[in-house]
């Protein structure tokens, strides 16, 4: 007799996927943060560095592959999370008149769906702000430091070059793809205090999501051992505080600079 029910059918399997995609997204966040640290560099050197990084992130095939896995993970994690949240609600159709859940569990653990939804809204806004504008919007282009020659994607300045349809033309001849100036879009974006506030709020939600999520993922995958539990908990708390805090610091820093 077989009781197996496929890869999404049981609650426990849904939780394996939740944990697996969640941990992958934690890895992604680490890399994303490392890249964003370049935004703390000032002056033309910082601008150039960041825009070269943006070219690398959008053209390198390995990064492209990883980015598709990331999109899939987010979508899968969100849909799976919603299915789990619906099942959670269904399991107790009549709630208690008087309940003291704070006596036995942390707030984050009981509000993962709400926190996740805030993060999802944030991701959509964030993608529109930068990813969409960078790919499809009308972006400024990167010039050399003197401001008189456009740069190609590999960083070479084309004196006398003209930009048309995203490419640099010299004497009517297409000499390559122009480097877009994402840095200026970011700087301009974060002059808006409402946007800065929203980014900070979303990072607070992310922090609370991970205060529970980090260690929870290990438990979901069956990794619970008295020897390792304390370290998982400590690393989880540290990650949940430090990573969103630095992420949040970037728009705040740029707003005041």
């Amino acid at each position: 007799m077989s009781e197996s029910r496929g890869l999404l059918k049981s609650h426990i399997v849904k939780k394996y996927w939740m944990a697996f995609t969640g941990l992958f997204l934690i890895l992604f966040l680490t890399g994303h943060l490392a890249g964003n640290l370049q935004l703390f560099m000032s002056g033309y050197a910082g601008q150039l560095q960041f825009n070269e990084y943006a070219v690398f992130m959008t053209t390198n095939p390995a990064v492209k592959l990883l980015s598709y896995v990331t999109y899939l993970s987010i979508i899968f994690h969100a849909i799976d999370g919603m299915m789990i949240s619906i099942a959670n609600k269904k399991a107790r159709p009549i709630s208690y008149a008087y309940s003291r859940p704070e006596k036995n569990s942390i707030w984050s653990s009981r509000n993962m769906g709400v926190l996740g939804t805030i993060i999802l809204v944030y991701i959509v806004v964030h993608m529109q702000n930068f990813w969409y504008v960078y790919k499809f919007g009308s972006t400024p282009f990167m010039m050399n430091e003197a401001g008189n020659a456009p740069l190609l994607q590999d960083g070479t300045a084309v004196a006398g070059g003209l930009i048309e349809n995203g490419s640099v033309f010299l004497n009517g001849e297409n000499v390559g793809v122009a480097m877009k100036d994402l840095h200026t879009i970011v700087v301009d974006g974060f002059t808006n205090p409402i946007l800065v506030g929203f980014y900070v709020l979303a990072m607070i939600a992310l922090g609370f999501h991970l205060v529970h999520g980090f260690s929870s993922a290990f438990q979901s995958l069956g990794l619970n051992h008295p020897k390792y539990n304390p370290i998982i908990r400590k690393v989880g708390y540290a990650y949940a505080i430090v990573v969103p805090a630095i992420f949040a610091l970037i728009p705040v820093y740029m707003f005041f600079m």
Binding site: A87, A91, K103, S220
Partner: protein, 255 residues
């Protein structure tokens, strides 16, 4: 003795005629309660008081009154079995409360635990989970093997014993925001998974019990840990992780 230290308590008790009717909280005043009485003794006194006034007594489950049968399910002041740790309602004493306090008493709430009357819920869903796989098949035809003939690591035997102390009270379900039966199930799975005698049926056990729990309408586990804190027997979350491991290997290798 009781007279000088008697407590005055306001109770808000869930009253519901039957599974079809809509219930509501009702307020009762009970005075001169001994702090040393158990919660169930206080409920008995309340019922005496109600009967004296020709009312219908509050129906609640109880049997052993010593914390071993698991029947005394009540959600007291927002927590299953009340505010004290590692006790059932029958082991809860009135000294845990303050004189003049208002105490809410509700049935355990879960889709899988329909209310029968007042505070009594039908917890047979837990029995059906157990029936789905929480057993080992042993030949009892007269030449039964001595269980002690098989050497078992002390630490594993202890953990299996700890898991086996689950009394099936359902407090884990009542405490869980998802009304998940994971702690109960994982205890019942672990008590066998840890022992050699449990290996024969191990794969099917975990698959069948998990499936049954879902069919009964218990929710998924969010690892909030509320169950472990509220469990009167201190069943550890380690058991849920073990169940998750067992389930993973069973689903990867089953046909």
């Amino acid at each position: 003795m009781a007279a000088e230290k008697g407590m005055n308590i306001t109770l808000k008790v869930w009253r519901q005629k039957n599974g079809q009717s809509k219930g509501a909280l009702e307020t009762y005043q009970i005075n001169d309660v001994s702090p040393d009485s158990s919660f169930l003794e206080m409920m008995d006194a309340l019922n005496d008081q109600i009967i004296m006034k020709d009312g219908s007594p509050v129906v609640f489950d109880h049997d052993c009154r010593e914390g071993i049968c698991g029947s005394c399910s009540m959600y007291i002041n927002g927590q299953p079995h009340g505010p004290a740790r590692l006790v059932t309602t029958c082991q809860l004493h009135m000294r845990e409360f303050k004189d003049g306090e208002t105490i809410y008493v509700e049935p355990f709430r879960a889709k899988a635990f329909p209310v029968i009357k007042d505070l009594v819920v039908d917890r047979s869903a837990l029995d059906r989970i157990q029936h789905a796989g929480g057993y080992i098949s042993v030949n009892t035809s007269g030449n039964t093997q001595d269980a002690n003939a098989i050497p078992i690591e002390k630490e594993k035997a202890d953990k299996a014993f700890d898991a086996a102390t689950c009394i099936g009270c359902g407090a884990c379900v009542a405490a869980c925001k998802n009304a998940s039966a994971s702690l109960f199930m994982s205890a019942k799975i672990s008590q066998y998974a840890l022992l050699p005698q449990g290996q024969v049926e191990a794969k099917n056990r975990v698959l069948a019990m998990v499936k049954q729990a879902e069919e009964e309408g218990f929710g998924p586990c969010s690892n909030t840990g509320a169950c472990e804190i509220e469990c009167p027997k201190g069943i550890s979350l380690e058991n849920i992780a073990r169940m998750n491991r067992e389930y993973l290997s069973a689903s990867l290798t089953s046909k």
